[in-house]
């Protein structure tokens, strides 16, 4: 039944490590996103993929690399983790079946990343 799922839910790691977060959606949507939510709950887009093609690439350190093996999956790999990377990362998907103006996004449950 899960529409947008992410794994893991929690990720605790040391500075300098490399980690990945996986995202899958079973809604048949064409577009998937990664967002970062900081400790003050500010939600900011990082990347967007449409049919496996990178569409939005915000000013994100190149230590962050998204990969979309197919349009139902969008993974996020992070190299050389830093303390400032600690946040909640949300995957989302959308389908513009109602037209551009609606672009309604369905979010996953989030991955809380803690870098020690």
């Amino acid at each position: 039944d899960t529409a947008v799922s992410q794994t893991p839910k929690y990720l605790v790691t040391q500075m300098g490590n490399d980690k990945s977060i996986k995202c899958e959606q079973n809604l048949g949507h064409d577009t998937m996103y990664w967002y970062k939510q900081d400790s003050k709950k500010f939600l900011k887009i990082m990347f967007s993929y449409n049919n496996k093609e990178l569409i939005i690439n915000e000013t994100v350190p190149n230590r962050f690399s998204p990969k979309s093996p197919d349009k139902a999956h969008l993974n996020l790999h992070i190299n050389s983790l830093e303390l400032g990377d600690s946040a909640v990362y949300f995957c989302a998907s959308s389908q513009e079946h109602r037209g551009f103006y609606y672009n309604e996004q369905f979010f996953g449950p989030g991955t809380r990343l803690t870098v020690l």
């Binding site: 709950k41 939600l43 569409i55 989302a92 551009f100 103006y101 672009n103 996004q105 979010f107 996953g108």
Partner: protein
Amino acid sequence: TQLLEQSPQFLSIQEGENLTVYCNSSSVFSSLQWYRQEPGEGPVLLVTVVTGGEVKKLKRLTFQFGDARKDSSLHITAAQPGDTGLYLCAGLTADRGSTLGRLYFGRGTQLTVWP
């Protein structure tokens, strides 16, 4: 960067009270969405408003899009403890060179409704 200012940042009220949350910007948006987020979960879409001046009602929640499509408000009547959560507004703008838009989120209003 398109900035959306939400106010108030925190709101703590008693059950049965009314409240209004504001979302303001100097930028024009193609549409504006309101989401609600509960602890440990992702945001869930409540409504999308598209036309300037549009008003949408969802039971006790009333959403309004400003005439100039730069601001929006969320009014809750007779708040209940189940309304507790983080309310986020998000403005949609077109992305240059793409048919897809992008959402810019406000910083949220944390609402707590006490029984």
